[in-house]
Symmetry: C4
Subunit: 227 residues, 4 copies
Amino acid sequence: MSAFDLPRRLAAEALGTAMLVGTVVGSGIMADRLSDDAAISLIGNTIPTGAILVVLITMLGPVSGAHFNPAVTLVFWLRREVSAAGAAAYVVAQVLGGLGGTVVAHLMFELAPLQASLTVRTGGGQWLAEGIATFGLVAAILAGIRFRAAAVPWLVGLYITAAYWFTASTSFANPAVAIARSVTDTFSGIRPVDLPAFIACEIAGALIATALMGWLLRPAVRQALAE
Amino acid sequence: MSAFDLPRRLAAEALGTAMLVGTVVGSGIMADRLSDDAAISLIGNTIPTGAILVVLITMLGPVSGAHFNPAVTLVFWLRREVSAAGAAAYVVAQVLGGLGGTVVAHLMFELAPLQASLTVRTGGGQWLAEGIATFGLVAAILAGIRFRAAAVPWLVGLYITAAYWFTASTSFANPAVAIARSVTDTFSGIRPVDLPAFIACEIAGALIATALMGWLLRPAVRQALAE
Amino acid sequence: MSAFDLPRRLAAEALGTAMLVGTVVGSGIMADRLSDDAAISLIGNTIPTGAILVVLITMLGPVSGAHFNPAVTLVFWLRREVSAAGAAAYVVAQVLGGLGGTVVAHLMFELAPLQASLTVRTGGGQWLAEGIATFGLVAAILAGIRFRAAAVPWLVGLYITAAYWFTASTSFANPAVAIARSVTDTFSGIRPVDLPAFIACEIAGALIATALMGWLLRPAVRQALAE
Amino acid sequence: MSAFDLPRRLAAEALGTAMLVGTVVGSGIMADRLSDDAAISLIGNTIPTGAILVVLITMLGPVSGAHFNPAVTLVFWLRREVSAAGAAAYVVAQVLGGLGGTVVAHLMFELAPLQASLTVRTGGGQWLAEGIATFGLVAAILAGIRFRAAAVPWLVGLYITAAYWFTASTSFANPAVAIARSVTDTFSGIRPVDLPAFIACEIAGALIATALMGWLLRPAVRQALAE
């Protein structure tokens, strides 16, 4: 149990998701403006995202667990580490925080606060990519918590750094971030109409990872006791 | 209390700020000379800055606290962790060190020791960006000290790595560094006339972070005792 | 001895090798599509590969040892830390996992599941490079285990990050990954006909490292007792 | 005192310096061949160098101290942590290892084993840069050993990552590496005639750092006892 009360935990989830989305959207705008080479822009989007994840999870993990992601909150609810009401409140805080992050990024770059994204992100390859991206994220978190909890901020930051590149979708892997990215018509945007399939695949990937890691991380000894 | 006397602590603040500014200005010159792509230049400015922050804070933190930043010293003064006289001396050492860093960078690259910058950095988006940048920096430092002091050098290095990209101002977030960057007419410069607004916004961001984190990081138990 | 039974250990080897190859092949496709500058593409291939190695070895090391590489499994068999049967099963899991990684990367990027690579990688310089690359990898692993086991994920990730650039072959250094890269006709591919020489040189490098580090890492005291 | 005998320590110094130079020269060749943008090439030279330093110092530090640098060995000799004869043997091993690293890099890239470099690196700015670069390197090492020995591999790797960019000379900061770079006519080369001034400035920087840090790192308490 966290020593922090629910208002602080929700504030931590909202603040962390806002700073995460602010980084994704803001660095995307900056990188896109500065270069004509899309790979350089993606480097300029990747490095800040990976870096801020290490910072945010270290800062806010002891307060709220630093989910910043409804798919992660779902996993912890399934593992009975958070109540249904707590999980629902977390998700609301994450979505609102994420939207706030987009608004702040837009204001810094002197754009309209909210825009409908026109970036098409759809099709089987993208959907598979979102499933794989979220599968790997949840697997890394669960194994990290099990074996080396202090390393989790690094595992998540480095995992997302890699996943921006190895997935065809640049790895949203987070329904709250996906929603927040649907209201920016910049480098990191996604059409609102493309959201539902992304979110469904993210949840599917999270569920598969929960099941697989539940089996994989149970050592022989504990297994014997369980039989 | 540091085991180091005031002259050593001031020397550490001056040396650290000089090496920080030398890195920001020097790598900016190098990156700008080598590439026509502004995003590549910013990558060549970001990676060295993030890296040297980890080094400098690890090296000099045990001597002086490794503030290198008047906004950070202000926060520690507000928290009664440094005296008013000590804080004032720190700020003088930081500003002088920072100016020294610019001079040394210029001499290495065979430029005039001091130049008036002509780079315009002004407007509401930039000011908001400086406030956000310094807010996040102070929040990361306060949470890091509270939960995982050994990680603070990494948190600051990674935070600034991200903030170079997610803010519209490339995140000065430091009045001493801003002053030192006003006397270089190179990649990282800022017009002297644009300084006051930047510094005001940095201080505002630091104050807001101090207030918010003062509430957020107080766990329920300590809270109960305080009532 | 791992607390995990053989099926879990084999699953960890297959999953880890699949995610490693998926990252190498997937990020290669992404980086190649986004840029016309081959160095930028290699940066976009290097950063994800180094990052995912830190993640995968931290995640799965406690389960299977996180070899993900037949040359590494060979070294541990020579050191009698794994049985012949166990080593053979590991290698099968690694090769199958690696092939699975290529297939998944192709499906994400909407390519045919398997392709014969046409990328020529042959000649004395490349073969020397593969020997050196694997020599360094095994040396880093053996010294890391000896002096600072917790750092091994970082040592491997950083070593491969460097070796992508300092070797003429971009450092395959792994027979299972090499096989998996022979069935993709994308940035990271290698002609099937070029495989045998690569694999032979990788094994030679691993054997030389095992012998040299066996001598180098034996301190004077243990040496005296042994005489 | 190291638990390792002199032959092993010299082998570690030679092997480590060879792998360091092999990385500097090899990644320079690779990065230069792949890109027309000099900043991208420098990124492709910087990341591998920083990464391999973390690996090599972690691997070989417990054996030999992982100097890989005559300027560093000089500092430890001045501090009476190595004998004059030991220091001389270290320097010979470093220089021979460094030359071996250049030869191996050339063979991997199918170049003549040794070449006279034609790259001009001279003038006051460059000399100041070498002095500053080595000053900072030695300061980081001495403070790191004093406050957080386990972090020294990271401090050196990150410091050099920054110094490649903030110095006008791209920070050789190492006489053995400078000598090894005088026999390659590739990206990282230096004309043999430019060596003596570089080496003199590196030694001067190391001596100034030793003196300054000797004062700065002595806390008030120890100071009081010394008076």
